[in-house]
Subunit: 142 residues, 2 copies
């Protein structure tokens, strides 16, 4: 249940890439400037995203990154889980589960699960296509 700067930056970068489809690869430096993200940090995130198959990298001069797949097919959840790990309740795992077992089951767990499910739903149903068009709308309205 932790959402760090990695997800935030990563999502910004992915939205940026989604808005540049058909324009050839965008370099990490370019993206970092437009989105105000620490360049070396972003570089790492992009490599992670590539290893997960969400972007394609073009090495060498004039290289950069391109979205891998259609924006409609990439959900925010995918990006988050690649960068911050699985979106689990953080709470109620490992030893805690054992403690729960001691006294049967814990009602607390049901809340954490509902919360996680709610988060997943939001992140799963939102795609880069949604966000890219939202971004265009925002940009055009001044």
């Amino acid at each position: 249940m932790r959402l760090s700067a990695r997800s935030e930056y990563g999502l910004l970068a992915m939205i940026e890439l989604a808005g540049r489809i058909g324009e050839g690869p965008a370099s990490a430096r370019e993206i970092s400037e437009v989105q105000a993200i620490p360049p070396k940090f972003l570089e790492q995130l992009l490599v992670t995203l590539r290893k997960a198959g969400l972007v394609t990298a073009v090495r060498g001069a004039r290289g950069g990154f391109v979205l891998d797949g259609a924006p409609e097919d990439i959900s925010v959840l995918q990006i988050i889980e690649v960068l911050d790990g699985p979106l689990s309740p953080t709470v109620c795992d490992d030893e805690r589960a054992a403690a729960c077992g001691k006294s049967g089951a814990c009602a607390a767990g049901t809340v954490w699960n509902r919360a996680t499910r709610a988060l997943r739903e939001v992140f799963e149903e939102t795609t880069l296509a949604d966000l890219a068009s939202e971004q265009r709308r925002m940009d055009s309205h001044k």
Copy 2:
């Protein structure tokens, strides 16, 4: 958007208290043993909960803590926000907002907001009464 052990332990303790209404004060040590929570840590959490008005403390021997108010009136959200601070998007604040301002508004922000809202809903609509009865149900089903 961070849910730490404080919230987890605190919720467990509050559920425990909700299940003991009418039995007089429960000491921190007692609760810590039943729920397998580090005792001194729990002590601090309970003091915090008292300062927020969610529990009442009875000092001295035979003292302890009692739920302050009816379980139906205490939401999980209240507990979480007291112990872990406001449930805000973590992301997209401060300097980031300034960066957003630079290029207008950011579509990413809309996702974080939806996510936060979804979380709040779950936590807000779940009360200690719900969890206490859920717990009783779980305990009775062996």
